[in-house]
């Protein structure tokens, strides 16, 4: 199981497992401004975070999040 502690880990996970390459400064971009982001990416992100870090996310709260960093925050809390 890979670690998911730093923003870099998160950016790598988004690129490799979600298939959504982002730069670190895009982590705070609201989803509606994030070019190419869609619901399929969101589902893959949930699966990828849970698989890589072993945590269980509160999916309903993930769905309410506005940015990638908010979801990262939920993963750290879990």
């Amino acid at each position: 199981m890979a670690t998911l502690t730093t923003s870099d880990d998160y950016v790598n996970l988004l690129r490799d497992l979600v298939g959504f390459p982002v730069s670190p400064d895009e982590l705070d971009t609201p989803f509606d401004m994030l070019n190419g982001w869609d619901s399929v990416h969101l589902l893959k992100l949930v699966t990828a975070i849970e698989r890589e870090s072993g945590v269980r996310l509160a999916v309903a709260r993930v769905l309410e999040a506005q940015t990638l960093n908010e979801i990262f925050g939920l993963a750290s809390l879990a």
């Binding site: 690129r15 490799d16 497992l17 298939g19 390459p21 190419g36 869609d38 619901s39 399929v40 969101l42 589902l43 893959k44 949930v46 699966t47 999916v59 309903a60 769905l63």
Partner: protein, 644 residues
């Protein structure tokens, strides 16, 4: 090390990601297709996600030979997540996916309405993805088992009716799937008797659904239950509840793998040959080291596993797949084992060819392909050696490699996890194919002993029967359009129902070609589709199995058609050639037979024979032709012919 060298050393997935980062995926598309074959399903899905973002039109413009399928994806749940794995799986088979995902829960409305999206012209596949919620959504609250029984019966009747509408109006293939019953339904019923009744009603639904494939010719039903049993969870309850994604990533991935093999079958590229290594693939041990007494098939724990694997290979071989051995061994000891080893399940006669030598296996496979007159890309190669697997994967383009290892109990699953040999329907010709190829070996020996080609043909005694398909032969004729790639002038692939429609249409001629020779009957080996129009007889397609090329059969049939068209008073016979990656040898087929260039058709070349000078049929062929479809008082004033 230069930049390029670094890149060629990248692992396949990293290489594809690098191209994606450089925005070169469209340009490198053919290379992506050859790399994606090396990846596991999860990695194929992530490549699929990258490929799904490409503009399919642009890919086809740059690589016009890429076969493509248009799929309408509809169902009861959020299905956008199916696009990535499906794109990846089709790419693995060299097919470009043009997906169209419908709105949530639109399937019933769309299938009922012949002008909806799923009926758009050019839609090859309609994937109607079913799940447990789709079947039990309408239950009252609270519900009893009677409600569920009634809902399942009603749902089956509805799907039957929808498949009926699709059969009447759809131009492609409708794909349905069985659904898995979940504890979130069964255990809402606390009494075990009701719970058992729900289980029974559920299976009756699935069984009825599976039978819809028999009643509606263009409907196929995938049985997802065995796949789910072998794989991960059917569904993630959270994603199901929150975003209505009713099927898990694992289930969608297994579904996509099946559809990938279906796409392969529909685009005429089902695998035809299974080539098996011998040592530690067919038997336990190394024949050269351990001797025939030292190897085992049965009789020990590991031996039993090899015996089971051999039985599965024989099972595959009984369904039209040719089996061959390719072993690094001396030839005689391998033949000795196949003939005499008491435990062997497979015998020499089960294989169309046994290659045992010390040549590299990639070279051996290419030589075998040439001998069988088949493309090496119709081969599946199974070996326990990673070295041999890698060599064949790199050296033989298009071959599918089944990587076995030192655990023989896994051989069967490894071979069967991919439906390489899936076909829509099996015919008698399939079941007898191995025997025909063995006879072919005899013919080959006769050819080797004949002095000249003329002498060979004269001695071969070729007989041809050329006429309308009879009875079950319709299925075989449709299958020839599906499976033939080389001698296929226009590569228009037809389903059995289309063949039947044309047979019923007086403007069309559907002709089967059956041949035989001194070594026996070849069965139905080809077909001609032709349409009578005012300006002459248009040969829509001309197909012949690669087993019987160059024996004068095609010349004899053409000569008969030309003569019959002239006698019926038609002004000309028209031929068409549409190039594909596989049929380039056919470019000169019509010109060689006296047809003149007559411009271009949509995607191909047209040829015209004015019927003034009709060549006689080759003298060595005995032809029995029934072209009565061209007769009648005067075909040129045929009522249908004048409609153009």
């Amino acid at each position: 090390m230069t930049d390029t060298q670094t890149k060629t050393n990248l692992a396949p997935l990293e290489q594809i990601r690098a191209w994606n980062a450089e925005k070169r995926l469209v340009e490198e598309y053919p290379q992506v297709l050859s790399l994606i074959r090396l990846l596991d399903p999860a990695a194929r899905a992530s490549v699929g996600q990258l490929l799904a973002r490409l503009d399919a039109e642009e890919v086809q413009r740059l690589h016009p030979q890429t076969p493509a399928l248009t799929a309408a994806i509809t169902g009861h749940s959020t299905l956008a997540a199916l696009v990535a794995p499906l794109t990846g799986e089709l790419a693995r088979h060299g097919v470009l996916l043009r997906p169209r995902v419908s709105d949530y829960d639109a399937y019933a409305r769309e299938l009922r309405d012949p002008v909806s999206e799923v009926y758009l012209p050019g839609t090859d596949l309609v994937l109607c993805v079913l799940d447990a919620e789709a079947l039990l959504d309408d239950l009252p609250s609270p519900w009893r088992v009677e409600h569920a029984e009634q809902a399942l019966r009603a749902k089956l009747a509805q799907l039957d009716a929808l498949a009926g509408v699709y059969a009447a109006h759809g131009g492609g293939t409708l794909v349905l799937n069985t659904a898995t019953l979940l504890t979130r339904f069964t255990h809402q019923l606390v009494d075990l008797r009701s719970r058992a009744r729900l289980g029974a009603a559920w299976r009756e639904f699935n069984a009825g659904l599976l039978r819809l494939g028999d009643t509606h010719a263009n409907t196929l039903v995938l049985d997802l239950e065995p796949l789910v049993a072998a794989g991960g969870p059917v569904a993630d309850a959270r994603l199901s509840v929150y975003v209505k994604a009713r099927l898990s990533e694992e289930t969608l991935s297994a579904y996509a793998v099946e559809v990938g093999h279906l796409a392969r079958a529909l685009t005429g590229r089902s695998k035809k040959v299974l080539v098996l290594d011998a040592d530690n693939t067919l038997w336990d041990g190394i024949l050269g080291d351990d001797g025939p007494e030292g190897i085992a098939v049965g009789g020990s724990f590991r031996g039993e596993a090899f015996a089971a694997f051999q039985k599965v290979c024989r099972q595959i071989g009984s369904q039209g797949v040719l089996l061959a051995v390719c072993s690094k061994n001396d030839r005689e000891p391998v033949l000795g084992v196949l003939r005499e080893h008491p435990e062997m399940v497979l015998r020499e006669g089960d294989f169309v060819n046994v290659t045992a030598n010390w040549q590299p296996k990639d070279e051996n496979l290419k030589a075998l392909a040439a001998r069988l007159n088949l493309g090496a890309d119709s081969f599946v190669f199974a070996d326990d050696s990673p070295y041999e697997c890698g060599l064949v994967e790199a050296g033989v383009p298009g071959v599918a490699v089944v990587r076995l290892d030192d655990e023989p109990a896994l051989h069967v699953e490894r071979l069967l996890v991919d439906g390489w040999f899936d076909v829509r329907e099996l015919t008698d010709a399939d079941r007898g194919r191995a025997e025909q190829y063995r006879v072919e070996e005899l013919r080959q020996e006769f050819l080797d002993s004949a002095g000249s080609t003329e002498e060979y043909l004269a001695g071969l005694g070729v007989t041809v029967r050329f006429g309308p398909p009879e009875g079950l032969e319709v299925t075989r004729v449709a299958q020839i359009t599906q499976r033939t790639n080389q001698f296929n002038l226009t590569t228009r692939r037809l389903q059995p129902e289309t063949v039947r429609e044309r047979m019923a249409d007086p403007a069309w001629l559907v002709l089967a070609i059956r041949s035989g020779d001194r070594f026996g009957d070849n069965g139905t080996v080809g077909a001609v589709f032709a349409e009578i129009r005012e300006d002459g007889l248009h040969l829509d397609n001309f197909l012949l199995s690669c087993r019987v090329f160059a024996r004068g059969i095609e010349q004899a049939c053409t000569a008969a058609l030309l003569r019959a068209a002239r006698d019926a008073g038609l002004p000309a016979v028209w031929g068409e050639y549409r190039p594909t990656a596989k049929n380039h040898r056919m470019r000169e087929f019509y010109p060689d037979l006296g047809f003149a260039d007559a411009g271009e058709s949509d995607g191909g070349l047209l040829f015209r024979h004015p019927l003034q000078d009709v060549e006689p049929a080759p003298a060595h062929v005995t032809l029995d032709a029934d072209l009565s479809g061209l007769d009648g008082p005067d075909a040129a004033t045929h009522p249908i012919a004048s409609r153009n």
